[in-house]
């Protein structure tokens, strides 16, 4: 009886859509599980639809049950979005656990965990760093070691103006 009860509890827990995201203390943030379909935002708005949601070239979002388009702007990796995590679910229905940030000038979604709708386990939205590491090797600060960031910062400096010297710390 006890085992049956425990099994039922685990089953219910697995099927529950809600899992609290980690709050970040951002103005207008609300912990939320968005359930809906992953879309290529440009395709959704303009019917300009390449295969596979643009294959990583385009910004992605989630259309929820009410038809609202939630623009995903951030994933769990520092300084990175969650496009690789969402791209794996292009056109599919997912549960996205994160923070909906309703700022007066823009509404964005910070994706923290993702799973197929109704599946058991949420996965952290950190595919960006897995793919980056596969291309470039391990780094504790991908953003400083990325070839393209190094090229741009190396060219114009950290302030964006060639020759402009940072202030002493």
């Amino acid at each position: 009886m006890r085992i049956v009860g425990l099994s039922l509890l685990l089953l219910v827990a697995a099927l529950l859509p809600a899992r609290a995201a980690d709050p970040w203390g951002i103005a207008g943030e609300k912990e939320q599980v968005v359930i809906g379909q992953v879309v290529d935002v440009l395709c959704h708005l303009k019917k300009d639809c390449p295969a596979n949601c643009g294959g990583g070239r385009r910004q992605l979002g989630i259309v929820d049950a009410e038809g609202r388009l939630r623009m995903v702007a951030k994933g769990q990796v520092d300084f990175a979005n969650a496009v690789p995590d969402l791209l794996a679910y292009c056109g599919k229905r997912i549960e996205a656990d994160g923070l909906l940030i309703e700022n007066p000038v823009i509404t964005l979604f910070f994706l923290q965990r993702i799973r197929h709708e109704g599946s058991a386990d949420f996965q952290p939205a950190e595919r960006f760093i897995q793919e980056w590491t596969a291309r470039n090797g391990a780094s504790s600060e991908w953003f400083r070691d990325d070839p393209e960031t190094k090229a741009i910062i190396g060219e114009v400096g950290p302030l964006g103006i060639k020759g402009l010297v940072p202030p002493p710390q």
Binding site: V41, L45, R58, Q59, I101, I152, L159
Partner: protein, 152 residues
């Protein structure tokens, strides 16, 4: 809404009128609304830092961080003088809007662009058709804010 219209009124361009290309078979099909063409001036920013407020997300102080974020795939926007954010999905027929070196090189620049505005569920999306002006980085914020977010 009124605020947005007021903001855009100076730069509002003439929308493209729908063009009839054939004879109607059983009455006219509902015409798609004409695209809302706008001119927007402001600073290129990364949306996450600008909205989260976790660091000072403007100008020279934030340039390096904005490059990192852009190449990390965080959406890029233009912030106008009233604080409106216009999220860029496409720029001059280039739909590369994720990890885009071109957008990264635009960061913190003061620009004027023309394009199509699409508003949906709290976001103003912009499909840039032309970069009309690019003044480069002119918002000198580093003296007050250092280099965000780590100081180097």
């Amino acid at each position: 809404m009124q605020h947005l219209l007021a903001t855009l009124s100076l730069g509002l361009l003439i929308g493209l009128a729908p063009v009839s290309t054939g004879q109607a078979q059983s009455g006219p099909a509902p015409a798609a609304p004409p695209p809302q063409m706008v001119k927007v001036s402001g600073e290129i920013v990364d949306t996450w830092c600008n909205v989260s407020g976790l660091m000072f997300g403007l100008g020279t102080a934030h340039y390096q961080c904005a490059v990192w974020c852009t190449l990390g795939g965080i959406p890029v926007a233009i912030r106008d003088k009233d604080g409106n954010l216009f999220l860029i999905l496409k720029i001059e027929n280039d739909d590369l809007a994720v990890n885009s070196p071109r957008l990264a090189r635009f960061q913190a620049h003061e620009v004027t662009v023309e394009g199509e505005l699409l508003e949906r569920d709290g976001v103003k999306y912009l499909l840039v058709t032309q970069v009309a002006d690019d003044k480069g980085v002119i918002n000198m914020t580093h003296a007050e804010h250092g280099i965000q977010p780590f100081g180097q």
